[in-house]
Every structure is written in structure tokens, then in C-alpha cells.
């Protein structure tokens, strides 16, 4: 960022600063008097605009017994408002040619709309309307609970990978809000009432808990007066201090078994990983890419090519506000037991602690990560998602590009250090997926 906050020509709006955002693009940050944060990236390559609203509330802010509320609320935000009848919000946006969706995860809730540039004013009007004027009635809440329950059946209950991931996280975390799934436990989903929703809305949906990211064919002269018209009068809320529940260190290996009607066994392993803002996060990301990224990676070569014991192996490093997991999943081939994959995997992990990746392996991993990062920036939506994500989780909207630059500074020593620090059996969690016995299946 290059400047300190300065007034703009719009009353109540200050320019916080400017960030570089790749060749030919820049990112301007503004703050409204009511706390609303606005990030603008002009991109005139096509006559379209992405308009994302990020709320700094996710499932980690919930409590046991009320899990899934942030996600249920994401659904409810498409219902009635004081000035828009049921279904009018979506219908109006579609008539304007909008692509619209929303997402909730552990740290945030996000609403994304992309429209032809000519429809930008409509989006500002509709998004500001639902920020403070949502109407919550019992029939809508009940109907949406049923939709969410069906979503849960689809993504978790009847999806073995969803079941495994849920079990892994709830076993690995005992206190922190990352222990429950964003979609919530089924019993909690079914027990929500209108009062729960009203309380959640008044607590977290306010301009001072949100960032609007606009990317596309517009400029500050057009955008700021528009946003001021629709948002400047909105009242900020008293967002409570987060009830932080740090996860205690894990000192022993935790194991779970999950019988499922699967044709082959599966394995999932979680090692505790650093938070996205931790200095080690990038090195862990590169390490995971060396070990699991693509078919030339160490794990693929070992499990799929040499031993032929797996049909698939992959890993995901949590990009979260708080420490998460390096989540490894593998599917057994034929009748090999999950322990056979685990054993080979552990050998490869131990090898990393004595034979750190070569320079060539690191170059391969960083080139893959760079390609992935660039590919995500092709559309205005992709840019807005990237900017909003890093701003909400880290408070650094340009962090994704800075991470690409930092990739080139990751060394073999860094990887050796993080392999020894994080890939520790005593703080791992394992889920074995077993084939259901026929009598269980029937």
C-alpha cells in the first residue's frame, strides 16, 4: 500500500491506499464512515463487473448446538426483504443477466454477483437492501432448513469423501470452531428457529463487518457515488469480540474408522498446519505440492506408479485464518488395505525429513502453483474472489500476488524445517474407510 487514508470527493469516504495487482492493474481501498470497506480493481478488458460482498463471519464463529447457522443464513439472504417480495431478488438479477451465487466457509461468508456493466447500479441497490432489510419469517426459515438438509445429504451423508472429511476435522479438533462442518450437524440444522436467524443477522450483517470488492469495467468516479447512495446511511453494528477457542496442542495420534458401501478402502490423514498468515504457510504449501501435486510428485510416483496400490492421492493445505490441517486423502486400489497406503505414505514423509526436495522439485512445485494462481485471475469473478479472500482472511487484498513472488524465495532448508515441524505422527489424525459388511449394507 502506498498512501495513508485521505478524503475523497465523496463525503464520508476515505481512500485508504493503492496496491499493485499484476501487470497493468491496481487495487484501490476505500473506507466509509460506517466502517464499510470497498476494494476496487478497474479491468476494462470486457464490459462486465464482478461485485462481491464478503462478511467476516463463518462457521468458526458459531457454537456447538448452533452449527451451520452461517451457512443457513447464506441461503436465507436470497429470500424476502422489506422492499422485495419472495423470489424477487434472484428474479430481478437474472433478468439483468447476472451470474449470482454465494459461499460460506470456516472464516467468512461471501455473496458474488457478476453483471454487464450497465447493471452495476442495480446490484448496489439489491445488495445494500439485503444487508440490513432482510425479512425472516418462519415459513421461509423452515423451507430453507429442508433445502440445507438436502444439501447436506448430497454433499456429506451420501458422499463418502464428504463423510471422511467431516470425521477427520471433528476428530483432529476438539475445542476450536474448525471441529464442526460449515454446513452444520444435521440435528442443529433441523433445530434452528427464526429467532436464531434474526439474532445472527443483527449481529454480523452490517457495513462494518463487510468488504465490497468490485472488479471490472468501472472506475472510482462511477462507483463511489453509487455505493455512497446505497450504503452511507446504513448503521454499523456492534460486532462482538470473537469467542476465541484456541486448539490445544495435539500430542497423540487419533484414529477413527468409517464403514461405508464403497468398492475399495480409503485413507485420510490430517497433520496440523499453520494459519494462512503464518510465515511457514507458503513453505508448507510448496512441500505439499512436491509430495502430492500432479502425477510427477513423490506420492503419485510411489503409490500409483511404483506400488500400484492407490487410484488417487491428493492433499490440501488449509488456507485459513487459524491453524488447520494438511489434509491427505487416498483411495485404495483393488483389495489393498488402507494401512498399506498409510505405510508407503509414511515412508515418503519420513524421507522428506532426511532427503529434502531437490531444487528441481521445488521449481516444479512453484511453477505449478504460479500457473494455478494466474489461471484463477482470468475472469473478473476470479480476480474478485482472490482479492476478497485474502482481504477477509489476512486483511491483505494483494497477498496472493505477493505470495507468488515469495514462492521464489522458498529454499530446501525451509522445506526441511516445515517437514520436521508439521509432518509429525504424534499430532496426526487418521480415518480409515472400510467396506461395509454385506449385512450392514442391506
Amino acid at each position: 500500500m502506498t498512501t495513508s487514508p485521505k478524503p475523497t470527493s465523496i463525503a464520508g469516504v476515505k481512500h485508504e491506499g493503492t496496491y499493485g495487482f499484476g501487470a497493468g492493474l491496481r487495487l484501490d481501498a476505500y473506507i466509509f464512515n460506517n466502517g464499510l470497506r470497498v476494494l476496487l480493481c478497474e479491468d476494462h478488458s470486457a464490459p462486465v463487473v464482478a461485485y462481491h460482498t464478503w462478511y467476516r463471519v463463518g462457521s468458526r464463529h458459531e457454537h456447538q448446538g448452533k452449527t451451520g447457522l452461517a451457512h443457513l443464513f447464506e441461503h436465507l439472504m436470497f429470500n424476502e426483504t422489506e422492499n422485495l417480495g419472495p423470489g424477487v431478488f434472484d428474479r430481478t438479477l437474472e433478468e439483468a443477466g447476472a451470474e449470482s451465487n454465494a459461499a460460506t466457509w470456516l472464516d467468512w461468508t461471501q455473496y458474488n454477483i457478476a453483471v454487464p456493466t450497465s447493471e452495476l447500479a442495480l446490484v448496489a441497490k439489491l445488495e445494500s437492501e439485503r444487508m440490513t432489510n432482510l425479512v425472516l419469517r418462519e415459513p421461509q426459515v423452515e423451507s430453507e432448513k429442508e433445502v440445507v438438509a438436502n444439501e447436506r445429504r448430497y454433499r456429506v451423508d451420501d458422499d463418502v469423501d464428504g463423510r471422511v472429511s467431516e470425521l477427520l476435522w471433528s476428530t483432529a479438533f476438539t475445542r476450536h470452531g474448525y471441529s464442526w462442518p460449515t454446513i452444520g450437524w444435521m440435528r442443529d440444522i433441523q433445530n434452528f428457529n427464526t429467532q436464531d436467524c434474526e439474532q445472527f443477522y443483527s449481529t454480523y450483517y452490517a457495513p462494518n463487518n463487510a468488504t465490497i470488492v468490485v472488479v471490472g469495467d468501472t472506475d472510482a468516479q462511477s462507483l463511489l457515488p453509487l455505493l455512497s447512495e446505497h450504503y452511507a446511511a446504513l448503521q454499523s453494528a456492534s460486532v462482538p469480540l470473537e469467542d476465541v477457542r484456541p486448539e490445544p496442542p495435539q500430542t497423540e495420534r487419533r484414529v477413527s474408522e468409517l464403514p461405508q458401501p464403497v468398492p475399495t478402502e480409503k485413507l485420510s490423514v490430517g497433520f496440523k498446519s499453520p494459519a494462512l498468515g503464518d510465515a511457514d504457510h507458503l513453505a508448507v504449501t510448496v512441500l505439499a505440492e512436491v509430495l502430492f501435486g500432479g502425477r510427477a510428485s513423490r506420492a503419485h510416483r510411489r503409490l500409483l506408479r511404483d506400488d500400484e496400490i492407490a487410484t488417487d492421492v491428493r492433499a490440501f493445505v488449509s488456507p485459513f485464518h487459524d491453524p488447520g490441517l494438511i489434509e491427505i486423502t487416498a483411495t485404495c486400489r483393488d483389495d489393498f488395505p488402507a494401512e498399506r497406503i498409510e505405510s508407503a505414505l509414511n515412508e515418503e514423509i519420513e524421507r522428506l525429513k532426511t532427503e529434502p526436495p531437490s531444487v528441481e522439485e521445488i521449481e516444479r512445485a512453484t511453477a505449478r502453483l504460479e500457473l494455478g494462481q494466474l489461471s484463477g485471475l482470468e475472469t473478473v469473478d476470479g480476480k474478485a474472489s482472490t482479492i476478497g479472500y485474502y482481504d477477509t482472511v489476512l486483511g491483505e487484498p494483494d497477498a496472493s500476488l505477493r505470495r507468488v513472488d515469495a514462492l521464489r524465495r522458498v529454499t530446501r532448508n525451509d522445506l526441511l524445517r516445515v517437514a520436521r515441524r508439521y509432518l509429525v505422527q504424534e499430532s496426526s489424525t487418521v480415518v480409515y474407510v472400510r467396506k461395509s459388511a454385506p449385512e450392514e449394507a442391506s
Binding site: R91, G97, V147, N150, Y154, T331
Partner: protein, 429 residues
């Protein structure tokens, strides 16, 4: 020869996308070797220039490139993306795959084993199972009813001679199109395309048979895919749908948008918004060289499956009998015309328009005059197209669920059911 090359330049990002596309796909492989084209293309990807699969992967990875293959019924594509600075190295490796695969025996056997294992694993996904059985039964006897990915039986049967025959078929130079987009000039693109065309053996493409137009299902049929422990069902309802060569295709396209093409369309409103029965409820109207199915997709919990089918069939019947309203038509046209901005907002999307016209044999203005085609649709045309093309009396319902729990109720929900079958989720398809 002069290669057919399409280029859409954009220097917004330092990326180049390249596709080498053959007009030959899975519809032209022998019926007893369904899946051979995809197997061949995957083996090319693993033996280019005599390199091992992991060496090829490493060659792409280390330059910031990716390269894959995709097979459809009428198309085989070799496609990739690279960071601009690595374009030369990317092309060198891609050339080895397309023009000089060695089909090494060890790699072939390895792929055979891998493919069988992947097939087994794929039965975990209920939506995949539903689509697979729907396709198999809906287009029974037609090439569109065959499996593009193949089955364990086919993986065992594919030999070196069959692979080389499919290779010759999908790399005949006069069957190839080249598409480039991103940070590349037209002259660079043409030069690369020429290198590919010149590197391939100069042979003419075999004449491809024109497959008979498939009449679609006669009567109402149910295929129930039985899988244990399902809390939910995957339900597909299909009847014959669109052919982009029909004069009334734009009208049917607009009418389907009203019925099930968006989040506020009739299907979603009735199934999800009003009743909360299914997270998603859509009707899709894909197009290809020949008429494809109109397909309605929902996934309600097991206890709602029968009611959901009943509702879908009623909505389908009402759509045909009563058509769409003037208000609905105006809304759908506005949505389609304005949202078309997102079909052409990047170079990699825009370059696909002329390629699609060539591959599917579409009218030249299909994409370039899309907005005009939609705008010109009248209410009479939309409703006439529904009546002419959609037939609720002749359809296929495919359900994945636990048969013992919901099978009887599902059969009861389908009036005038002519036949039903139960298959196991582990059956080869």
C-alpha cells in the same frame, strides 16, 4: 497442408491456451471397443516421444504448463495452458504427445490396470451412476449410448492394433482444428499449428459414418440403480430434446430457460423454493451433432423421491400443454441476451465460438448472432417448439437409491409406466 487455425489474442495475463481438436470422437469407434478413443488419447499423453508418463508430467510442470486430453462422442481434444515465457518448451512437449506417441507396451498395461481401478472407484459417486445409466438406456443401440470412458471388459480387450487404428483416426491432419487464445500473436499461432500438421503423417481422414437419428424412448421406462444405505436419491427424467440444426432451436432454448434453466425457473421454484425437496432442480438442453435428451435433474431425500417424480412429470406435462407466458418469455430473453456477456468475456471463451461452429456443424451465425436469435423468438414460436419437440408420453426415468426402501413408491409415481428394471450399482455400464 493449411491447418484450420483460430486465434483470439489477449495480453491481459501472461498465459497461452492451446487446443488441438479432432473431428473424430467416441461415436466412431467400434461398438465392442467403446472407450478405445479415450484409452488411446490417454496413452498418447503417457508415451509422447517415448518419454515416460511422469517425465512428460514433469516437463509440463517445471515450465508452468498443463496438458490434458478430452474425448466426446464427436470430438477428441488435446488442450493445455502455459505461462507465456515457456511457450516454446510447451509446444515441444505437446508435439511429442500428438505427433509421436510410442504406445509403449508397459505403459499400455499400466493404463489398462489403472483404468479398471478408476472405473471401480467411480461407482462411489451417485450422480455419475445416474448419468451413466441414463445415457446407456436412453440411447440404447446408438453410439451416444456407449461409454466414452470404457468399461473393464473393454480395457481388457483393447490391443495395440486397435489403439493404432484409433490414433490414425483422431490425428488425421485434415480433421484437425487448432485454437489459440491469450498472450500469443496470430502469426505465432499459425506457425505452431503448421508444425503440428507437418509433424503428423500426411494421411486423409477416413469417411465417418452418419449415424441414424435415434428416435428416443417409446413409452415410459424406469431404470432403478440399487445402492445400499442411500439417504437421498438421484433422479433424472429425460425425453428427446434439442438439435441445434432445427429452425426452432432458439425457441426451444428460450422455453427451456423458463422451465428449468435458471435458479428462479419453474422447476427450481416448485421443487426447491416452495417445497425444499431438493438442493438443485434443473433441466438441461445440451446440443451436439444429433438430437440429445432434455434432462431434468433433482436429488431429493429418499422419502420425497416419489412425490418429486410425480411433481416433475406434472410440471413437464403442464409445460407442454400450457406453454410459457409472455411475461416468462420476456424475462428469459432478457436473461439470455444480457448474460451472454459472460460467454464472451475472456479470449479463451471467444475462441471457442468458431471452433464449435465447425465441430457441431452449426449455422455460421449461431454464436455471433446469438442475441438476435434469442430476441427474435416469439411466444407462439416458443410454445410451438415445446409441443413439437418435447413428449412427456415417451421418457426415461433413472433413479439411484436404495430400492428396498423407495423402489415401489417410485414405480407407483410414474403413471403409464411401460417397463421398469432394477440394476445393481456394481453392474458394468
Amino acid at each position: 497442408m493449411t491447418a484450420q487455425v483460430f486465434v483470439e489474442q489477449s495480453s491481459a495475463l501472461p498465459l497461452v491456451h492451446m487446443s488441438v481438436v479432432s473431428r473424430n470422437g467416441a461415436a466412431y469407434e467400434p461398438a465392442e471397443l467403446a472407450g478405445a478413443t479415450r484409452f488411446t488419447a490417454r496413452l498418447m499423453r503417457r508415451t509422447g516421444g517415448g518419454m515416460a508418463a511422469e517425465e512428460l508430467d514433469e516437463a509440463f510442470d517445471r515450465i508452468g504448463g498443463s496438458f490434458g486430453v478430452d474425448v466426446g462422442y464427436n470430438v477428441t481434444s488435446f488442450f493445455g495452458t502455459t505461462i507465456r515465457r515457456s511457450l516454446d518448451a510447451f509446444v515441444e512437449t505437446a508435439l511429442k504427445i500428438v505427433a509421436n506417441p510410442t504406445f509403449d507396451a508397459e505403459a499400455r498395461e499400466r493404463l489398462r490396470r489403472e483404468s479398471a481401478a478408476e472405473y471401480t472407484e467411480s461407482s462411489n459417486d451417485d450422480a455419475t451412476l445416474a448419468r451413466r445409466w441414463f445415457r446407456r438406456r436412453f440411447y440404447a443401440g446408438h453410439p451416444y449410448g456407449r461409454s466414452v470412458i470404457g468399461t473393464p471388459t473393454v480395457f481388457e480387450a483393447i490391443d495395440d492394433a486397435a489403439i493404432r487404428r484409433r490414433y490414425d483416426a483422431i490425428t488425421a491432419p485434415d480433421d484437425l482444428l487448432f485454437a489459440f487464445s491469450g498472450d500469443i500473436s496470430e502469426s505465432q499461432a499459425r506457425s505452431i499449428a503448421t508444425r503440428f500438421a507437418d509433424a503428423l503423417p500426411q494421411r486423409s481422414a477416413d469417411a465417418r459414418p452418419e449415424h441414424a437419428i435415434w428416435p428416443g424412448p417409446k413409452g415410459r421406462h424406469l431404470t432403478f440403480v440399487d445402492k445400499p444405505e442411500r439417504t437421498q436419491t438421484q433422479i433424472l427424467v429425460g425425453t428427446h430434446g434439442a438439435d441445434p440444426h432445427d429452425a426452432d432451436y432458439p425457441a426451444l432454448h428460450v422455453a427451456n430457460t423458463v422451465f428449468g434453466g435458471t435458479f428462479t425457473a419453474r422447476l427450481m421454484r416448485e421443487v426447491r423454493s416452495k417445497r425444499g425437496w431438493s438442493y438443485g432442480a434443473y433441466s438441461s438442453l445440451p446440443y451436439a451433432r444429433q438430437r440429445r435428451a432434455l434432462r431434468l435433474w433433482t436429488f431429493p431425500k429418499a422419502g420425497d423421491a416419489a412425490d418429486c417424480i410425480r411433481l416433475k412429470l406434472r410440471l413437464l406435462r403442464e409445460w407442454v400443454d400450457e406453454g410459457v407466458t409472455a411475461e416468462e418469455l420476456a424475462w428469459a430473453k432478457s436473461y439470455l441476451i444480457k448474460s451472454h456477456a459472460f460467454a464472451e468475456d475472456t479470449a479463451s471463451k471467444r475462441v471457442w465460438f468458431p471452433v464449435d461452429v465447425e465441430l457441431v456443424g452449426l449455422p455460421a451465425t449461431f454464436h455471433t448472432h446469438y442475441r438476435q436469435h434469442v430476441q427474435s423468438v416469439t411466444l407462439e414460436q416458443a410454445n410451438a417448439a415445446i409441443r413439437a419437440r418435447i413428449d412427456p408420453a415417451n421418457l426415461l426415468v433413472t433413479v439411484v437409491g436404495t430400492e428396498a426402501e423407495v423402489g415401489a413408491a417410485v414405480r407407483d409415481a410414474i403413471e403409464d409406466l411401460d417397463s421398469s428394471e432394477v440394476v445393481a450399482h456394481t453392474d458394468e455400464c
